[in-house]
């Protein structure tokens, strides 16, 4: 298979089969929207091999060990000032659902961002998955194009991992190995869905790393085409939002108009992919521009935009207002703690709206 698409998950619990529904969804999109190229040339899986990557075990192993020790972490955080005290104070008054969301999802962000041993473990899991699979695919001597799609926390993990791959040799018994460094290896496309890499950035910063398109500073470009997807009401992408410099030019694409609410968890990867503004650029860039014709694109957008939003106008408006308020609050802060709080509140807003709609 000459094209690989690695898919990297976001925060929350993800077992080894986490991507099955997402991959099934991707495969079904051409028939759902009537993209005839696939009828003539074979289904998506004939052209692209989707390879899910799960790094969740780096968190679950720790959290299992700490399962009885949530209060220790809280104690530790508040007395040692590792920067999560305010979030945890907030949790004191939070609902059970908010606390559960925090400990099953937001804590992944916290562990990745604040504990470099965990950070390194996560990055090594992702790096090994990419290197191992690509090497297996090229064993027959064929050219393989590699792209990567990441979601939420995965956008930060992917950015960081690829930056390391581009610039740091892998230590082997034969010596420092440059096989996956700049000049020897590159990703054809990177698809960053609900990109949080900027708010979680460490070193290198996201706008000065090799993760940029070849249209700017090509000698240091590790991801030749860069596509960014941001939903208007997805709070995760609004705190220190990822904004590409104008100089990135034709190697960067961020489709406008991703703003419909077909489900209240607008951060959900599958809801992003359902939108033709998201999946059409992905399909075209993965395979060929011809896979969706302009007429098919127009029809898909019409069909998608005609789908009704949840049938509870008042709750929908309330939800949008709450998210707008949170975005306004969060956009003025560069603080990771505020992000944790805002994320938890946003999930609560989504849950409240969903419950009220039933």
């Amino acid at each position: 298979m000459p094209r690989l698409l690695f898919i990297v998950h976001g925060m929350g619990v993800h077992d080894t089969a986490w991507a099955d529904p997402t991959i099934a969804h991707l495969k079904k999109i051409p028939s759902d929207y009537g993209y005839e190229w696939f009828d003539a040339n074979g289904p998506l899986e004939d052209h692209v091999k989707c390879v899910p990557i799960s790094y969740d075990k780096a968190f679950t192993e720790l959290l299992d060990q700490w399962a009885e020790s949530a209060d220790e972490l809280e104690q530790f955080a508040s007395t040692e000032g590792v920067g999560i005290a305010k979030s945890l104070d907030f949790l004191q008054g939070a609902s059970a659902a908010e606390q559960q969301f925090f400990w099953t999802s937001v804590v992944d962000v916290l562990l990745y961002r604040l504990f470099p041993i965990v950070t390194a473990n996560v990055r090594d899991i992702v790096k090994k998955a990419i290197v191992e699979r690509f090497t297996a695919e090229t064993a027959a001597g064929s050219v393989v194009d590699v792209s990567i799609m990441a979601h939420s926390l995965g956008t930060s993990v992917t950015h960081d991992t690829l930056s390391i791959m581009a610039t740091k040799p892998i230590q082997t018994p034969a010596g420092p190995n440059q096989s996956f460094m700049l000049g020897n290896f590159q990703f054809k496309r990177i698809f960053q869905v609900a990109n949080v890499s900027r708010v979680l950035q460490t070193t290198p910063a996201v706008l000065s790393s090799p993760i940029h398109p070849f249209t700017v500073d090509p000698a240091t470009s590790y991801t030749r085409g860069f596509l960014n997807f941001k939903h208007r009401y997805d709070l995760f992408t609004m705190v220190r939002p990822f904004t590409a410099p104008a100089a990135w030019g034709g190697g960067f694409l961020e489709p406008a108009g991703i703003n419909r609410i077909l489900g209240f968890n607008v951060h959900d990867l599958d809801l992003y992919l359902e939108d033709p503004r998201c999946h059409i650029p992905i399909l075209r860039q993965l395979i060929d521009p011809a896979v969706v014709t302009p007429d098919e694109e127009a029809d898909a957008l019409d069909a998608y935009d005609a789908r009704p939003e949840p049938d509870c106008l008042q709750q929908l408006d309330d939800f949008k207002d709450r998210i707008d308020d949170l975005i306004a609050q969060a956009s003025t802060s560069l603080d990771l703690q505020d992000l944790f709080i805002a994320l938890t509140k946003a999930m609560t807003a989504a849950r409240d709206a969903k419950n009220a709609c039933v």
Binding site: P2, W37, A40, E61, E72, L73, Q75, F76, A77, T79, E80, F115, P116, I117, V118, A120, N121, D124, I125, K128, V131, E132, F134, T135, T138, G141, S142, V143, V144, D145, I170, Q171, T172, P173, A174, G175, N177, Q178, S179, F180, G183, N184, Q186, T202, F214, P218, S221, R224, G250, L253, I280, P281, R284, Q285, D288, P289, A290, T293, P294, E297
Partner: protein, 350 residues
């Protein structure tokens, strides 16, 4: 978004100049002008020499062959492509002979991405050498003959470089698999770290490291063990060791595979009905931990010093399964009952 080309048909440029489309297309699958000189035909022509590790000879032949090609290309494309072929030839020359095997094993030598084509997100253009100095932009204005002259070669050379790099990638894969084993060992067979220990051990740790830390600080680490105090033994038949809480401070060092560690910790021992004592503990992997505790003599002048062993070690030395079970139950009950007090006791800071 005007990304699509005409009605559902791949452009000739994408078909002929994008490697994943062109590499396996058989001779005859192209327009007549492509019948000779397709990427597949060109690559297959290289294979006998590549299998004999004659990389430089192939690169030299490619250079000579293109230099003799009279196809007129737009702009300075011919000169630019020839210059990159010359660089490729020099890169192979630099790693020929005894240096070749090491270069292939480490992914050094020729830049493997040099002949990888780039495509902007829109428009019908294929760009060669974008990251390597002078570039060539091939677009729809190029004739089939011109496309064949370049893409038939560039795609075949890209494939050649994939083959060159395979041993290096396999070595990198093996190294990362070994790293993954070390991470697994560190997680599952290392000395458990409480959050504050993980944070302290993370200080200064390189988050770009391929491997887990080799050493570990033990900081205010609560653990449970059994303490044997000789003066309390009245009868060995019904002797019961004291369950004790230890609070440890020390340092551990892992072996290269992170499957075993050794180290020394200083600790305070807090048994249920005995005075607090202090001692030193030797750690030999996850199963063996033994320490010596000193405390003041009792009023009768008898020593109350003792030996502390980890619960794991106690399990090993327990004589019968029933004793073992009883001991474990006791410890777990005690642990649960004392959890709040322990956490208060080990609280650091205000």
């Amino acid at each position: 978004m005007a990304l699509a080309t005409a009605a559902g048909a791949q452009s000739a440029l994408n078909t002929e100049c994008v490697a994943v489309n062109a590499q396996e297309r058989a001779v005859g699958a192209f327009t007549p002008a492509w019948d000779v000189g397709s990427a597949k035909a060109n690559y297959e022509a290289m294979l006998p020499r590549l299998s004999r590790e004659e990389w430089f000879i192939v690169a030299d032949s490619l250079h000579a062959d293109f230099a003799a090609d009279a196809t007129v290309l737009p702009g300075s494309a011919h000169a630019v492509f020839l210059a990159h072929l010359d660089t490729l030839r020099q890169e192979f020359a630099a790693v020929s002979g005894v240096r070749m095997s090491r270069a292939r094993a480490t992914g050094t030598g020729p830049k493997q991405a040099r002949f990888t084509e780039d495509q902007p997100l829109s428009g019908d253009t294929v760009v060669l050498f974008a990251s390597f100095g002078s570039r060539i932009a091939i677009d729809a204005s190029w004739t089939p003959t011109q496309r064949r002259a370049l893409c038939g070669r560039s795609v075949a050379i890209r494939r050649m470089l994939v083959a060159w790099g395979q041993p290096g990638r396999e070595n990198a894969t093996a190294a990362l698999e070994a790293s993954a084993v070390r991470w697994d060992n560190y997680s599952t067979r290392g000395y458990f770290q409480f959050p504050w220990e993980l944070a302290i051990n993370s200080i200064g740790f390189d988050a770009a490291s391929d491997d887990p830390p080799r050493s570990q600080w033990v900081i205010a680490h609560p653990a449970f063990g059994l303490e044997f105090i000789a003066s309390r033994v009245e009868s060995w038949d019904n002797f019961q060791p004291l369950e004790t809480l230890t609070i440890e401070f020390g340092w551990l060092r892992y072996n290269s595979s992170r499957s075993f560690y050794t180290g020394l910790t200083l600790f305070g021992s807090i048994p249920g009905d005995e005075a607090m004592g202090f001692g030193a503990m030797l750690h030999l992997g996850p199963k063996f931990k033994v320490g010596y505790v000193t405390r003041s003599d009792d009023p009768a002048g008898e020593s109350r010093n003792g030996i502390v062993v980890s619960t794991d070690l106690a399990q090993i030395i327990a004589k019968t399964p029933a004793t073992l079970q009883s001991m474990r139950d006791l410890i777990f009950r005690r642990l649960e009952a004392q959890k709040g007090a322990i956490l208060r006791a080990i609280r650091i800071g205000p």
